[in-house]
Symmetry: D2
Amino acid sequence: MDDLTARIRAFAEERDWQQFHTPKNLAMALAGEVGELVAEFQWLTPEQAAAVMDDADAGARVRAEIGDVVIYLTRLADVLGIDLKDAAVAKLAEVAVRYPAEQVRGSAHKR
Amino acid sequence: MDDLTARIRAFAEERDWQQFHTPKNLAMALAGEVGELVAEFQWLTPEQAAAVMDDADAGARVRAEIGDVVIYLTRLADVLGIDLKDAAVAKLAEVAVRYPAEQVRGSAHKR
Amino acid sequence: MDDLTARIRAFAEERDWQQFHTPKNLAMALAGEVGELVAEFQWLTPEQAAAVMDDADAGARVRAEIGDVVIYLTRLADVLGIDLKDAAVAKLAEVAVRYPAEQVRGSAHKR
Amino acid sequence: MDDLTARIRAFAEERDWQQFHTPKNLAMALAGEVGELVAEFQWLTPEQAAAVMDDADAGARVRAEIGDVVIYLTRLADVLGIDLKDAAVAKLAEVAVRYPAEQVRGSAHKR
């Protein structure tokens, strides 16, 4: 991810957009992009959603929206000084303790 | 990211949670986690938000929420067969054409 | 809605929370609450989701989350000077032109 | 709100869209629209956001996005059999107990 972080940072700096890239603003931008991603799936049946990448147009839109989400998430993490992978691995370890496999297997999980 | 994708996939499989991890459900889970991340910043001034990682409690919460976002984003991309980095790089190239540095420098950008 | 707007405004004023209730912050709070609402549905099948109000616990949670969404939406509209019903009626009229009933009947709609 | 609920229901029925308007799908649509609303504010300073309705173009966009949010929220509540105002009043009463005015006055509030 480090190379991607550097590219996105350079992209922002070349446009003098660091002034807009505050944590608050980037969290909002991330929410906006995730909203667009969710919208791609909103009227699809579970079956249609599962096959969305087989549709050239819809698949390209989903891929582009995911690209946007990654860009803002990476930028937010950069601005906050957080390593995305470390944060995920730490959280996964925490969740593994909260949801032991043998106890929760196959049951719908609540947060 | 590949190692993280594998870990999260194993985590789901050990719990027989693949049945819940449809694209539609994962997009919703991602939206839910991004909502929690945004909530961490909602009442902070821009200055407080910029210094959020200096506060041990708030910083830990932000890091944990970002971990959750990465987990669901990685899982969604896995289920869809999308490479997160490739999607971001492709989108960045597209946006670079739409927003040439010399034309947009320093100005608030619209989508 | 006017009475509700007044109640929520009084609630905020009694707590001197107007300072936090900027449009930007309220939009974030709304996103956070909608994230919690979406999370209530994320692992449910379409059938389970359709019957969610028959489950006392889940139904109460959904109702509470919807209450939160209405509170922040009403407060945001109050701060912006927007009438919620007028805004919805105006948008509905616009959408009716864009999606004529005889042309779109029964087909999945895109934005 | 009842008149608005009826109008939106008629709008959906004229288009035979009830089949798409499941709670799960409507919650996603709501999240998508709130994402668009948040995006209107993402790059604005607090001052710019507070004055957004003075800008004809941005003000019209914000009003339209709020209209969309009200439409999907009203439709979701209709499908679930929830009264929006009752849900908000009930939640406000609950929050009033949790955050007594004399104890929380003027301090940033956490959920």
